[in-house]
C-alpha cells in the first residue's frame, strides 16, 4: 500500500514537472533584481619580479622573498644581482624589484611608499632601497608612486668586508631580513 502511494506521488510529480517544462517553453517571464552594493575604496600593495632582478618567491603577492644567493666582494654573483661598489670597508650588492600599488575607488593621484626593517639587521649588513638607508623606523622611499603599474626599486645590501671575528658578517651562513613596506594614498 505504501509502495503504491509512492508510485502515485511520483507520477504526479513527473506530470507537474513535464507540465512546467511545457509551460516554460511557451511563455516568457521577466523579473528585476535590485542589486545594491557598496563600492569600498582602497589600495593594495604587491611585489613583482623585475626583469633585471632576482626572481621573487611568491611574486605577485604581498609577502615575497628575494634571495641574493652567495655574495662576496670579489667572487661571482647570481643572475639579477650586481655589485655597484667595492671599497676597503664595504661592498654593495644590488637587485631590483617592483612594487605595484593597486587603487580602487579613490580620488588619490599617487601614493607614498615607506619601508622599515623588521627587527635588527644581521651583523655587518646595512639595507637600503633607492639609496635610502633602512632602519627600524619607517623611511620614505617614494612620495609620488604611480598606481597600477610596476614601479622598480633598487634594493642594496651594504656588507662589511671585515672578517666574522673582526665585526663583519657571518660567512657561509644565510642571513635573512624582513622589510615591511607601507603604501599610503596621498
Amino acid at each position: 500500500m505504501l509502495n503504491k502511494s509512492n508510485s502515485i506521488r511520483m507520477t504526479v510529480y513527473a506530470a507537474l514537472l513535464l507540465a512546467g517544462a511545457s509551460l516554460w517553453a511557451q511563455t516568457t517571464a521577466s523579473g528585476t533584481i535590485n542589486a545594491v552594493f557598496l563600492n569600498e575604496s582602497g589600495i593594495a600593495l604587491i611585489f613583482d619580479t623585475d626583469p633585471g632582478g632576482v626572481p621573487l618567491g611568491a611574486s605577485g603577492t604581498t609577502a615575497v622573498t628575494a634571495n641574493f644567493g652567495t655574495v662576496s666582494a670579489f667572487g661571482p654573483l647570481a643572475g639579477g644581482v650586481t655589485r655597484p661598489s667595492v671599497t676597503a670597508a664595504t661592498f654593495t650588492v644590488r637587485t631590483r624589484f617592483d612594487v605595484q600599488v593597486i587603487e580602487s575607488g579613490l580620488a588619490s593621484a599617487n601614493y607614498t611608499l615607506t619601508a622599515a626593517l623588521q627587527g635588527a639587521a644581521p651583523v655587518g649588513f646595512t639595507y637600503a632601497i633607492d639609496a635610502v638607508t633602512l632602519t627600524g623606523a619607517a623611511q620614505t622611499i617614494q612620495v609620488n608612486g604611480a598606481y597600477n603599474v610596476d614601479v622598480p626599486h633598487n634594493l642594496d645590501l651594504i656588507i662589511s668586508t671585515a672578517s666574522p671575528t673582526g665585526g663583519g658578517p657571518s660567512v657561509g651562513t644565510p642571513a635573512s631580513q624582513t622589510i615591511n613596506f607601507t603604501a599610503t594614498a596621498n
Partner: protein, 175 residues
C-alpha cells in the same frame, strides 16, 4: 535652531572618520644572502718600473719595448749583462685584497702561459715555466703593493728583432 545644530553635528561625525582613516596597504619583502670570503688580485704600475697597460686590473700588459745587451733600454727597465745572455727586468706591483676573511696572508704562484725553451722568466726572483705553478711568496701581505719584479733572460744568440712574448698567470690563495 536646535535642528540645525543637530544636522551640523551629524555632518561633522560623518566627515571626521573619512578624514581620519588614510588608505594604506602593506607588504613584506624578506631578503636572504649568504656572504662568502673572497680575495682579489690586481697589478699596479710600480713607480720604479715600466708603466703597465691595464694597471689596477687583473689583466695587465708589461711592454719592455726594444731591449738589447748593450744598447739603451726604456724607462723602468733594469738590465744586467752576463757572458752569454742579458736580463731585463721591471718592477711590477701585485696587490691582493681580502674581504670577509680572517686569513693573515696569501700564497702567490705564477706560471707561464706557454713554453719558452729559449728564454728564462722569473717573477720575484723565482723562475717560472709553463710546466707547473711556481710559488713566488707564501706570505704575501694583503692590501698593499708588493713588488715582484718580472725578469727575462735572453741569450746573446737570439736574433735581432725577435719578439718575445708570453703570458704569466698569477694565482693568489688565502692562507
Amino acid at each position: 535652531m536646535k535642528k540645525l545644530i543637530m544636522i551640523a553635528i551629524a555632518a561633522a561625525i560623518m566627515i571626521v572618520p573619512s578624514m581620519a582613516s588614510a588608505q594604506t596597504a602593506s607588504g613584506t619583502l624578506t631578503v636572504t644572502a649568504t656572504v662568502n670570503g673572497s680575495i682579489s688580485l690586481v697589478f699596479n704600475s710600480d713607480a720604479a718600473g715600466v708603466a703597465l697597460t691595464g694597471s689596477g686590473t687583473n689583466a695587465a700588459t708589461l711592454a719592455f719595448g726594444n731591449v738589447s745587451a748593450f744598447g739603451a733600454v726604456g724607462a723602468g727597465v733594469v738590465r744586467t749583462t752576463a757572458a752569454a745572455s742579458f736580463t731585463v727586468s721591471s718592477a711590477v706591483d701585485v696587490n691582493v685584497t681580502k674581504a670577509n676573511s680572517a686569513s693573515a696572508n696569501y700564497t702567490l704562484k705564477a706560471q707561464l702561459g706557454a713554453a719558452d725553451a729559449t728564454n728564462t722568466w722569473q717573477v720575484g726572483g723565482v723562475t717560472v715555466t709553463n710546466a707547473a705553478a711556481a710559488t713566488v711568496t707564501a706570505t704575501g701581505a694583503y692590501a698593499t703593493n708588493n713588488n715582484f719584479p718580472v725578469a727575462i733572460t735572453v741569450p746573446f744568440a737570439t736574433a735581432s728583432g725577435t719578439v718575445i712574448s708570453n703570458t704569466i698567470n698569477y694565482t693568489a690563495t688565502a692562507n
